[in-house]
Amino acid sequence: MAVTAESLKELEKKQAWWWIAEKKRSRRLDYLRKAVWKKGAIGGLYPAGLIVDLERPVLQTEKARELESSADPYVIKFAKILAHVLDNKTIFITDHSQLVGYLGSTPNTITWDPSLASILNHEVINDPQCLPEPLDDSLRTIKDIVNYWAGKSDLDKILPYMDLDDSMKILSGAIGWGVPLARGGYSGKDYEYIMTGKRAFEDIIAELDRRIDDAYAKAHEPSASKEISNLYDKINNWEAMKITLEAGIRYAKRYARLARIIAENFETDPARREELLKIARTCEHVPAKPPRDLQESLQYDLFIQLFSRNEAIEGAWPARPDYYHGPYYEKDVNVDRVLTEEEALDLVGEFLIRAYEVSQYKPKWSREGLQGIEGTWVWTLGGVKPDGSDACNGMTIALLKAARLVRVSNPTFAFRWHPKVSDEVMRECFECIRQGLGYPSMRNDPVLVANAMHWHGHPIEEARTWVHQACMSPAPTTKHGFQPMRMANATANTAKIIEYVFTSGYDNIVNMQIGAETPPVETFKSYEEFFQAWVTQMKHVFSLVVRPVNRGRMLAPTLTPRPFLSAVSERSVESGLDVNDPSISRGNAWITAFTWVENIDSLAAVKKLVFDEKKYTLAELKEALANNWEGREEMRLDFVRNAPKWGNDDDYVDSIMLDCLREAAKFSRELKCPSGNSWPILPENVSGNIHYANVVGALPNGRRLGDALYDGGISPGPGLDKKGPTAVLNSCAKIDHITHGRAFLLNQRLSPTQMAGEKGYQLCKAYMKTWADLGIDHVQFNCVSDETLRAAQRDPEKYPELIVRVAGYSAHFVDISRKTQDNIIQRTVQGLA
């Protein structure tokens, strides 16, 4: 079909946004978008065609063996291994690309870091899908690597120093979601240090040299003290940082050389030859020196992200690309006019694609909990500058436009809404939502700035720099405010809290005593007593997920250091301490509360049907739950239909939500991170509601073992919000979004028909005004009709690019499991009035 206004209109009518994108984007973007290998796991397994990259683990292992007898301290050995990988890995440049760099040796590879955890290495051995052929050769190599790292991996090293009881409970997979490793989680970055154009790697190397020289001189003056002893460690840390930065510069120069070789020996098209020479000039300049234009700025950022992911498994991508790349966009497009808007869109669109393809081998809980994507690359747009003025710029709009052209499911955007955002920018956000991307999610900036100050004491100027550290949680990008590692296992499967009230803490799914041994539930005489048992279990579960993280963080500087991340962090360059050292961090911890609303609906059901109406006894209910409601269907339906449900502006159940949040918030102040700061909760789910479906037993809200859990955060149960969008917002607004927790995810579905045209925008705008006025911190939308979703279930091959918002992230609909698909379809479509 030729690209005519009519044909586009026709496609728009059918809401076939992915075909529209294909027709509107440049030939380059079209090639690059189709060229990319999708990495997100489908259900629990990696898609066909992907292979585990064995090059990196072989390089890593060979260098580790070589260094075994070296006199270097561990941090320097670690830096040298990283440098060895960067110096020797295979690199490639894809046709038509202008940005370069990938973790693996070929585009279809998933990289595997065997130095992280032996249990992850065993998953590689067991992988049924993506070991390279010939299998016997691969297995021989893999086994050699696994054998070498057994007992030497980070997890092996820290476990002897952890509480094994807590660790085993976490590693059962019932309540926690991760491991307490500093090299596995969500790494914030000190963008104010590294991304403002004031310095780049060579400047930092010069600074490190000065510090090493000064420390060396001081350490050899005629004196002796604890401080002098500490200098030896600092010198090692600084040396290690320097090794990684120098390796980064060499790695970039390898791309420059390859680009020149292609231009001078293979490429026949003069235009492409010139592009290759531009890539060469870019990679000769960054990351050694600060960027000078948009392409260099994006390439510089990409290199930093890749180096950091060479050093650690990063499950998130905290970023604020419009804020940090915006000045270069303005300069190139509007001041120097060396790029047209279309040329800039090509670069911005490719930047999204380069992020989309990043992949690292992850364990099952992560693959299943983040179906369809690699990690939560939630990029932050909009917001305010440290002085409070609007931070939106031309790059904000370019990113929103590029997202509609390339339609990747990862990264997604979250937009920091505030009252000064222009109508032009809001329309671009709306257009992305209307076109079914599921992003940007909308964040209430004034509320979240206040929240950052309330919970972690960030000064207002720092709080205003915030980015999403993972799906939802704000973290500043400043020297002391950024958090270098938020370990995923401070994630609690909170539906277990109410489940454990009925089992006195015993987990029947994993055969372990995990929760607190509260008295038998049938002995409780009042709702208050019952609720107190819930509070006890809540404290127990939260402590269980937090303690290992605190311990892991404290052990990290010595056992699992991060010299590269330290090298791009002002506080480490200045102090000589590893970036994870809690003494140089203000702290920005949070507990992700998966499956939270099940607690509220269950408590409400017990209060009403057991204590108020006395229709059932706790003993009866305990038995029904233990038998997964079998033989008690009528009773189960009573608990589903005749108990009040969250999200309907009903004070009976909404007040229970507030009681639970107040108790959790109070306890959050008692839980301390190693920096001495609080652990507020943050209800949200990713696709944990499906992953945990078979891990959470029957619940008093009428749920059976195996049923999908609610889609998360403070979103009402699918189909249970029967009183319309305003009632949902009214329920959510009863929560204090500053003091009750760190953030609260809210999923809503809108009708695509209603969102059409100017009328749709005005409706959406009115909805957003109500949302903002009510002080709710988050909302995200799915705007795809049931009809389209069901058609995609029937003919998935016709809808490969259909995107939906899962929870905290977006995914291609065909890449998520049937159960997750059904769960999204079940969500109530809210008609706006």
Partner: protein, 122 residues
């Protein structure tokens, strides 16, 4: 479980995976016995990973089905930790499972799913 020594605990849980110096231990990770625990209906794969750990729904902590004669402990709280490829030929409680889903594209179900390569075609 906390009453065990740390080393005993670690071995029982398999949380450290294969220890260095264990000789052919890594090779063993590919050997599928005639009656592996992973094909028994009482085996629960841990929800966390596919690294091959699991627990038994019938046998409790203190059991050992690999020694001769085997030790069966049926009372107690915590389940017996084993690996999916543990040889259960001596286990009298073994009941082979009928699998309903082996393609691995639906989400985990600790009761019915073990999607490790070694058991793929079993």
């Amino acid at each position: 479980m906390a009453r065990m020594s740390r080393d005993e605990y670690a071995k029982a849980s398999g949380v450290f995976g294969v220890k260095p110096g264990a000789g052919s231990a890594v090779e063993d990770l590919d050997k599928v016995p005639e009656r592996p625990c992973g094909l028994c209906k009482h085996c629960l794969e841990v929800a966390w990973s596919s690294d091959g750990r699991g627990s038994c729904n019938v046998l409790k902590e203190g059991s050992d089905i690999t020694c001769d004669p085997p030790v069966f402990v049926l009372e107690g709280k915590n389940g017996y930790m084993m690996r999916l490829l543990t040889d259960a030929s001596r286990c009298t409680y073994y009941e082979r499972n009928e699998f309903i889903d082996k393609d691995g594209f639906e989400c985990s179900d600790p009761v019915f799913r073990r999607f490790i390569r070694q058991l793929r075609d079993k």
